[in-house]
C-alpha cells in the first residue's frame, strides 16, 4: 500500500510499548510525553475504547484504551498501565498501554508491510504501518508492530461521532 511505504520512509526513532504480551511501536515524533496512571473521569455513553478524559496540566484529554480497541481483553490486575500522550493533527490524545519499554532506532529498510490478517481480526491491517524484526538475545528474533497513529486516531468512531453531533 502506498501509505505504508510513505510512512516507513519517515520512520526512524520509535517508542516501544507492550500490550498483552506483544511489542508495539509508535513514531517518537508523535509522542509528547508519558504519564503515569491518572484518574480517568468517565464520559457518559462513551465507547468502551474511549472511556473518559484526564487532566493534563489543565487540558482535558481523552484516553484511548488500546486493549479495548484491539479487543485484547482487560489488563491483568497486577499491571500498572501507562499513558502515552500523543499529538495527532492538532488533537491531543492519551493512549493507555500496559508498559513502555524503550526507544529504538529503526532502519526504514527493515520494515515489512503487514501481511493480510483477515477481516475478522480486530486489529485490522489499516492500523499497522508495518512490521519490524528485532534480534532477540538468544538469537530468536521477535516481532515489533508499528502502529499507524493517524489511522488509529482519525479512522475510528471518534470522527464519525463528531461529524454526527456537529
Amino acid at each position: 500500500m502506498a501509505t505504508t511505504e510513505a510512512s516507513s520512509q519517515a520512520l526512524q526513532q520509535v517508542l516501544c510499548f507492550a500490550l498483552a504480551g506483544e511489542a508495539y511501536a509508535l513514531p517518537i515524533l508523535k509522542v509528547r510525553e508519558i504519564q503515569a496512571q491518572a484518574t480517568i473521569t468517565r464520559i457518559p455513553k462513551a465507547p468502551p475504547y474511549m472511556p473518559g478524559v484526564i487532566n493534563l496540566r489543565g487540558a482535558i484529554v481523552p484516553i484511548l484504551e488500546l486493549r479495548h480497541r484491539f479487543s485484547l481483553g482487560a489488563a491483568p490486575e497486577d499491571t500498572r498501565p501507562v499513558i502515552v500522550i500523543v499529538e495527532v493533527q492538532g488533537r491531543t490524545v492519551g493512549i493507555r498501554v500496559d508498559s513502555v519499554s524503550d526507544v529504538l532506532d529503526l532502519d526504514p529498510g527493515s520494515i515489512r508491510p503487514a501481511p493480510e490478517l483477515g477481516t475478522q481480526t480486530a486489529l485490522g491491517r489499516e492500523f499497522i504501518a508495518g512490521l519490524a524484526t528485532l534480534p532477540g538475545a538468544a538469537g530468536t528474533d521477535s516481532m515489533l508492530i508499528l502502529l499507524d497513529l493517524d489511522r488509529l486516531l482519525t479512522d475510528n468512531e471518534l470522527v464519525a461521532l463528531e461529524s454526527a453531533t456537529t
Partner: protein, 703 residues
Amino acid sequence: MSDPMAQFRTAFFEEATELADSMEATLLSLDLAAVEVEDLHTLFRAAHSIKGNAGTFGFPAIASFTHQLESTLEPVRQGQRAMTSDLRELILQGVDLIRSHLHHARHDEPLPEREQQAQAILVVKLKEGKDAPSAAPAPAAVEVKTPPAGSSSAHRAGTGFSIRFEAPQDAFRRGVNLERLFRDLAKLGTMRSWPDLSHLPVLDRLDPEDCHLAWDIRLETAHPMMDVEEVFEFVAEGDNLRIQSLPAEGAVPPLGDYLQVEANVSPADIREALAKQKPLGEILVDMGKVKPEAVGKALEQQAKKRTQSEASTVRVATEKIDRLVNLVGELVITQAMLAQASLQSNSMQGEEQMSAALLQLDRQTRELQERVMGIRMVPVDMVFSRFPRMVHELGRQLGKDVELTMEGQATELDKTFIEMLVDPLTHLVRNSVDHGMEEKEARLHSGKPTVGTIALRAMSRGGHIYIEIKDDGRGLNRDKILQKALDRGILPPGSHPSDEELHLLIFEPGFSTVEQVSDLSGRGVGMDVVRQNVRALGGRIEVESQMGKGTTIRLVLPLTLAILDGLTVRVADETYVFPLASVLESFQCNDADVQTVKGDREVISLRGEFIPVVRLQRLLALGSCQNTGRALLVLVESEGRRAAMAVDELLGQQQVVIKSLETHYKRVEGISGATILGDGRVALILDVSGLMRLEAGAATVEV
C-alpha cells in the same frame, strides 16, 4: 498577510468604524431646531479623520467618498447651510456607505456595484442641496489625492470602467445609432472594445433586422460613472448594461485585466475561462479524494475562522493594564516571601510567614483572575449604540412614533457576549417596534400617549447580567399564541400551560402570530436565533407581558463564559457540576413520594406541581441505581421547564473554570464542558436543558 501595513490597517478599520459610529450617534442626537455647533464640529472632525486615515492607509475609494461628506459638512459647520432633517438622512446614508466601504475593504473586495450606484446617487444629492451661491471654495484641508474639485468629484479612485453592453435586440429597428454611441464613449477617454458575436444565430435563422451584438469595453477615463451611463441612456434596459469600476489605483488588478490589455484577450473569453474554473473542494470531490460533506464542513470552519479573526482584538484602557502590571509585581514579591518562608519552614516564624504569604497569594490570585477577566469586558453600549438609529429608521418606515430610552450602557459584558448579542437584540428591538407597538390610532384609542416607548436596560445583579427590552405596546396575545401552538402541534391538545411557558413559545422556530408578514419581521425566524444565541451563552430568556400594557423580554446571562458558579454533586463515584444558575433548590425525599406515570416515568409532587424525576445515574449510564429508600433531588430549571435530578450526594458550592471538552474530544450530549477540581481530577459540567432533552428522548424511545 505578511504586509507590514496589515496591523495598522486593522487599527484603521477599528478606528474608522468607531468614528462612523460616533458620527451616527451625533447625528441622531442632533436637535434640528437648535443645532449645537460643537456637534457639527464633532461630525466634521470624524469625517475628516476617516478621510485622512483612509488616504494614509491606501484606501483612496474611502478617502474620496468621505471627502464628499466632509465638503458637505463644511458649509454646515460654517453656518452657510442649514442642517435639515433631509440632510441628516443623507449623511446617515453616507455613514452607512462608509461602513460598507470599510467592510468590503477589510475583506479586500471592491464595493459591490449596487452600493457604488447608491454612492453616486448620494453624492449627487449631497451636492444638489448645497445652496448654490455659497458653493464655498473647496475645503482647505484636502490632504488626499482627489481629482481637482469640480471636474469630477464623483469619480472614484479607479482609473476607469469595464463595461459589458448587450445591444437590445430591436436596436436596429428603433434606429439606434450604435456607432455614435461608441464615438461618444471614446470622447470620454481611452476606449478599447471587444465585440462578442457569440449570440449570433446561424445564418438561416438570422433575422437581419435583429441585433445580436454585445461588446466588452474597457474605458480609461476620469469621468464619473454617471457620464458613462448617460451615453447608454437610450439603450440601457434591464440588465443589458453592466458598468464596473476598474480596480483602484494601488490595488493589484486580477490577471484577466492584464491579459485584456497586454494580450488583447476578450473579456468574454476570460469569463468563459473563469466559468470553467472550479473551487478546490469541487475538484477534489470529482477526483474522489474527499466526500462533499467534508468539503462543506471545511468551508464552514473556514468561514468561522474568518469571522473570528475579524473581531479578535479588544481595546483595553491603559488603566486596566497598569493595574495588572502592579498586581504581577505584587505576585513576584509574594513568591519571594514564599520561597523565603519555605527555607525556614520548620521554625515557628517560618510557618507564620508561610501562612501570611499564602493568604496574600490567595487574594492576589483572585484579584488577578478578576482583572484578567475584566480585560475581556466591554461596555454593553457597543451593542446599544446602534439602536437609536435603528428605532429612528424603523419608526419612520412604519409611521410610528417611537422613543428609545437606554439605561446602564456602561454595564460591562464579555466581548464574546457582545458579539453574539448583536443579532438577538436587533431582532428583539425590531420586533418591539414592528409588532409590539400599535399604530398611532390604536394607541390613542386605548388612551396611551401616541409616542411609544421602548426601554433598553442593562444591569449586573448577583453574578448575572440582565438585559431588558421593554415596550409599552400591545403585549402578547395569550389566546392567539395558545391557539397557534395547538394548531402547530407544539403543545398537545388540552394542555394548560402557564403564562411563562406560553410566552416562551414565541421563541420556537417558525412561530409567528402576526397575520401579516412584513419585510421587517414576522416570519418567525429571528426569535429562534435569539433563543439559540442566548442558550449558547449559557443564559436564559424571561418574558413578561400584559395584554394591552406591553411586553418585557429579559435576557439573563452569566457574567463571563470562562467561570461558572457550580454546585458539585456525586453520582455513583463520579463528580458532576450543576451550573448554580439553573439550580432552584435541593431536597431529600422518600422513594414513596416518587410516583410512577405511564409505567416508568417518575414524577414527584412538589407544592402542588408535578415535576419529572431524572435518575442521573441511569441517564448517564453509570450503572443501575441501588435502592436506598431515600433520594436526594436537585430541582433545576431551564427554559421554563423544571426537573428534579436524583444525585447521591451534594459536595458543595464552588466556582469552577470551564474547560472545553471539544478541544481534544467531542461534544457530549448532556454535558456542557469540563472543569478541574482541587485534587486535579476532571469533573464534567452538566447541561441541564441537554439532560432534559436526553431524558425526553430516552422516554420516547422506550415508549
